[in-house]
């Protein structure tokens, strides 16, 4: 098994014993982050999966492989370009105006918690899942916790 596939394994920033396949890093990070809520880490501005200690950030940013796109963006001024006149900006009269709308967002969890529907729980540890199932049973059967 120790062949070409092992080389694409990278270290988890939260726990170095976690050797994670590059392609699974996204998934792993969301899980592992939960176990380290107090960790002082910063994310690289170029890539969300690059998670570092604060002092290392500056060095990383200067050498991050994803910097290319940023450099590409920055160097745009030097390229000779043909500019067309910027288009005029006609004011578009609108029949309605929603600018001052101020309504809270719909919260599906709040609805589901009170409705006669089955709810699922994702990504919780077993103890929480168990508690959730118990609570759901009580909720749906309508038996009060007290």
């Amino acid at each position: 098994m120790e062949n070409a596939h092992t080389q694409d394994v990278i270290e988890c920033p939260y726990e170095k014993h976690h050797q994670i396949l590059r392609s699974r890093m996204q998934v792993h990070l969301t899980r592992c982050r939960k176990n380290h809520p107090n960790e002082k880490k910063v994310t690289c501005p170029f890539n969300v999966t690059h998670i570092l200690n604060e002092p290392e950030l500056e060095f990383h940013v200067s050498s991050c492989p994803e910097r290319t796109s940023f450099e590409h963006f920055r160097s745009s001024v030097e390229v000779p370009i043909c500019r067309t006149v910027p288009p005029p900006m006609p004011q578009c009269q609108s029949e309605e105006n929603w600018d001052d709308e101020n309504v809270p967002s719909y919260n599906p969890q709040a609805y589901a918690a009170n409705a006669d529907v089955l709810r699922s729980i994702q990504g919780a540890p077993p103890s929480q899942r168990k508690a959730f199932r118990k609570q759901e049973r009580l909720r749906l059967l309508g038996i009060d916790n007290n």
């Binding site: 796109s69 370009i81 043909c82 600018d99 709308e101 009170n114 409705a115 529907v117």
Partner: protein
């Protein structure tokens, strides 16, 4: 207290919903401003103590007498008896179930069962918290729609024990496994077995039961049945069991499982001249929807190629001298299906030196392939001389501990899928579309037939009744709404309604475009081969005329004639043209050769930052459709120069809408390109900003969204001297399954960084932001009286999911087949808009895709992002010049 009451709802009451959908029973009302008003939905006079408890609360309680029309459906589940008592067909199992429930639970369970029933027949109270708004809107004209859902009338009220079953020695075939297990039927009672999990109503005495069986072949098996846990109807997992029961009953229809769906080999459609079969089938799933548990059924077709790899081998052998090379060319890279285990493999190589007579060692014994297949699958291999196929396992299955190379027998491998030559075969595709593309009325008919078959086939019905499941025969109906026609704004702010079918091609020609370059298209060049010079002149002439009609001035171009159609000649000519700093270069090419197209685009987007327009000779010389082609090209050219053909009314100022999509690279499979397209406050600025970033193809989620968003925000700031008030993000390219991942990985990060960015820019508060996931491939279909619903139809109830803020929108108009609605999931929102406004805004955004003078399936920003990403992924292979980012050069 009110909280207490809202819990006071009885679980097994679903059968009432169906008869009174839309009645006051349903918690979610249209009006959002309504005061919280608790209602007693159903009361029974006997059991005064419970009732008094509910009514003693300090909120007003309305009392309704038991009405006779309420319970016609409830005959299968008499309120006072939790478990169905008698049913001639399913008697055996039912009785067992009942016995199990009484004997198992001792005093406690039985009491609780009774207690539950008494208690919850009494008062069903619902309170609506005042601050919760509903996700259903009210704008537009109401319409009753049918969907491809069936309601589950009775959901069983069981308590089920789950076990894990393992065999030793191991058995591969599911059928064999269940066959052997079935000898212990008496012990297990009525049970469900899916190959590893066993669900039954009987509780075995021990945690781990070990059974011994002798198979017909005389082999001894040891079966270990391990207890896992108990599942009741109050758990999410019970849906899995419902699905399992449904699948079991579908087996009764003599359907065959291919992949994960059932197909009907009897009703197959033979396309003999193409050596193909179409198997009609069903994709089904039972899920918890907004209010009820519904069964979604979609008609699917499976393309089955009738030939095996062996047939291809024989053909190669007959036809060509160098048949090995020929065979290799045909086969390598092909995905094959092996019927014996229903698995697919990709063929990587062929071993011509070996035959099925070859031996391999299995558990220390030498076995030939022929013996192996006979022993394990009872298949006799006919030709012992055929070569062997090699398939390298995928990395993922390697990690799962599978063998690195799998050896396959050509005779047993069936080719699957369509290859390129088939896909390019117009006749074949049309013959297929005739069968697969179904108009709504025919689809409804087929769904009904499916239901009838399920209800009338004895085997299927027995399983359903055994488990106390009943399926409604009618399709679920839902109230949808048709949003008003949107007004398209043309030149001088003249407005025209979009029309019934949301198609404004005609207006486009007569009204003139919204903005055009003030001095027109002055400097531009056309490149064509000598041979096509006449077509070119003709075309340019019409183009100028068409553009003039739409109020866009196009001057005569500089004509560059080249002597041959080699890529290099075109590039050279483009280079020459670029010295004169043209606004646009148009190339008339003899055919749609992908390579030539790519090199023209590379020159224009990567090296030179000049918008390019490519026309094939075929469309330029098309006399009959020339004017409409020219109109489209003129609109495209206008967009490529950075101007706008038409606009819509957006009632929000300071709004930035963003679309994001990904496309996999055609050249390097490990790479993909994500494109982000953003509007810059459509009220005052009708341009689109675009940017592209490279990402790796295995990443489902986007890692570098923020850098791209920063660029868009910076551009916005450059143009308006401030940052947007509201940002609406449409995310395409993720499946429904990864919504939570999207939230954790993308949304949280963006929200956090937006906050920082706005603080840095000295804005008083972060923007109002919403993140919407757009999904196109879904199984939901809606019908309006046997036809497709008109564009603008919104469905935001019944078939939506309770734990999501979602809605379905049919924005496109479809002439053939059934329209597929697009699903929108608002994953995050503090944009401070009502659901009505979100839906309308989304619909408005589908009007702005300038390659098509009509509405699109997804918001225009998504469609642009998709177009840009696929241009980069299939032709450019690297992010284009920044100078182009404000133009729609990718159209």
């Amino acid at each position: 207290m009110s909280d207490d009451q809202s819990r006071g709802r009885r679980r097994p009451s679903r059968e009432y919903h169906s008869s009174e959908s839309g009645s006051s029973r349903r918690p979610r009302e249209r009006s959002t401003s309504e005061e919280p008003k608790p209602k007693v939905i159903k009361t029974e006079p006997d059991s005064p103590d419970r009732y008094s408890r509910a009514s003693s609360s300090n909120v007003s309680v309305k009392r309704e007498p038991e009405s006779p029309d309420r319970s016609p459906v409830s005959e299968t589940n008499v309120p006072n008896i939790p478990i169905k008592k008698e049913d001639p067909d399913g008697a055996e199992v039912e009785i067992k179930k009942e016995r199990a429930s009484t004997s198992r639970a001792g005093g406690d369970g039985a009491n609780r069962g009774r207690d539950r029933v008494n208690r919850y027949e009494v008062s069903l109270v619902y309170t609506k918290p005042s601050d919760v708004i509903s996700k259903t809107g009210s704008l537009g004209k109401e319409i009753t729609l049918q969907t491809n859902y069936f309601r589950l009338l009775t959901t069983p009220t069981w308590k089920i024990h789950q076990y894990h079953v393992s065999f030793s020695p191991e058995i591969e075939l599911r059928r064999l496994k269940s066959g052997i297990l079935s000898e212990h039927r008496e012990l297990l009672g009525g049970y469900l077995y899916d190959g590893s999990k066993l669900f039954t109503t009987t509780k075995l005495k021990e945690e781990k039961t070990i059974l011994h069986t002798k198979s017909k072949q005389g082999e001894n098996y040891v079966i270990t049945v391990k207890y896992v846990g108990v599942i009741s109807m109050t758990e999410w997992q019970s849906l899995q069991i419902l699905n399992l029961i449904l699948r079991r009953s579908m087996e009764g229809l003599k359907l065959q499982l291919v992949g994960r769906n059932f197909y009907d080999p009897v009703a197959k459609i033979d396309l003999r001249e193409y050596r193909m079969q179409l198997w009609p089938g069903y994709q089904t799933s039972i899920r918890q929807h907004e209010k009820d548990i519904l069964l979604c059924a979609e008609i699917a077709h499976k393309v089955m190629r009738t030939e095996t790899v062996y047939d291809i081998f024989r053909r190669c052998q007959e036809n060509t001298r160098d048949f090995r090379e020929d065979f290799k060319r045909h086969i390598i890279g092909l995905t094959v299906l092996t019927d014996y285990n229903n698995k697919t493999y990709r063929i990587n190589d062929i071993d011509f030196h070996k035959t099925p007579r070859e031996t391999f060692s299995m558990k220390g014994e030498k076995v030939t392939f022929m013996d192996y297949y006979y022993k394990k699958y009872n298949i006799r291999i006919r030709d012992p001389q055929q070569p062997l196929l090699l398939s390298k396992a995928k990395e993922r299955s390697l990690r799962g501990g599978e063998k690195e190379v799998v050896i396959l027998i050509p005779e047993l491998c069936r080719a699957t899928g369509l290859n390129d030559s088939m896909r390019n075969n117009f006749q074949l595709m049309r013959a297929m579309a005739d069968h697969t593309r179904m108009n709504p009325d025919r689809r409804i008919e087929r769904l009904r037939t499916f239901n009838d078959r399920l209800q009338q086939t004895e085997d299927s019905m027995r399983i359903l009744t055994d488990w106390n499941m009943k399926l409604d025969t009618r399709l679920v109906e839902v109230k949808g709404r048709i949003l008003d026609q949107q007004k398209i704004v043309f030149r001088d702010h003249r407005k025209e309604p979009s029309g019934e079918q949301a198609d404004w091609t005609r207006h486009c020609r007569s009204m003139g475009m919204f903005t055009t370059p003030s001095r027109g298209l002055e400097r531009w060049a056309v490149i064509a081969t000598n041979r096509n010079s006449r077509d070119l002149r003709n075309f340019v002439e019409s183009l100028i005329r068409a553009a003039n009609g739409m109020n866009m001035r196009i001057d005569r171009p500089r004509e560059v004639m080249i002597y041959d159609d080699r890529n290099h000649s075109f590039i050279q000519a483009m280079e020459d043209c670029c010295r004169q700093d043209p606004q646009l270069i148009m190339c008339l090419v003899p055919n749609n050769n992908a390579e030539r197209y790519a090199s023209i685009k590379k020159k224009g987007c990567l090296e030179r930052a000049v918008p390019t327009q490519v026309i094939t000779q075929k469309s330029a010389s098309n006399q009959r459709g020339l004017m409409s082609i020219c109109t489209k090209v003129a609109i495209q050219i206008n967009c490529k120069l950075g101007y706008t053909p038409w606009m819509i009314d957006v009632p929000l100022s300071g709004l930035m809408t963003i679309g994001y999509d990904v496309a996999k690279s055609a050249r390097d499979k490990s790479k993909a390109y994500g494109a982000l397209v953003a509007t810059m406050d459509l009220k005052v600025n009708a341009t689109f900003y675009s940017t592209v970033a490279e990402c790796s193809s295995h990443d489902v989620l986007a890692n570098s969204l923020w850098p791209m968003m920063t660029k868009a925000l910076r551009q916005y700031r450059k143009e308006h001297d401030k940052l947007p008030n509201r940002i609406l993000f449409y995310r395409d390219g993720v499946g429904e399954g990864s919504l939570k991942q999207v939230y954790e990985h993308e949304v949280k990060d963006i929200v956090e960084k937006l906050e920082q960015e706005y603080k840095r820019a000295k804005m008083e508060k972060p923007p109002m932001f919403a993140y919407v996931v757009v999904t196109k491939s879904i199984n939901t279909r809606v019908f309006a009286r046997g036809r497709n619903p008109p564009p603008g139809t919104v469905v935001d109830d019944v078939v939506t999911l309770p734990e999501r803020y979602d809605f379905y929108l049919v924005s496109q108009s479809v002439r053939q087949g059934t329209v597929a609605p697009t699903s929108y999931n608002v994953v995050y929102s503090n944009i401070r808009l009502t659901p009505d406004q979100m839906q309308l805004l989304t619909y408005k955004m589908t009007h702005l895709y300038y390659n098509w003078s009509g509405t699109t399936r997804v918001p225009a920003v998504c469609q642009y992002a998709k177009k840009l990403a696929s241009l980069v992924a299939s032709s450019l292979y690297q992010p284009p010049q920044n100078a182009l980012e404000k133009k729609l050069y990718y159209l």
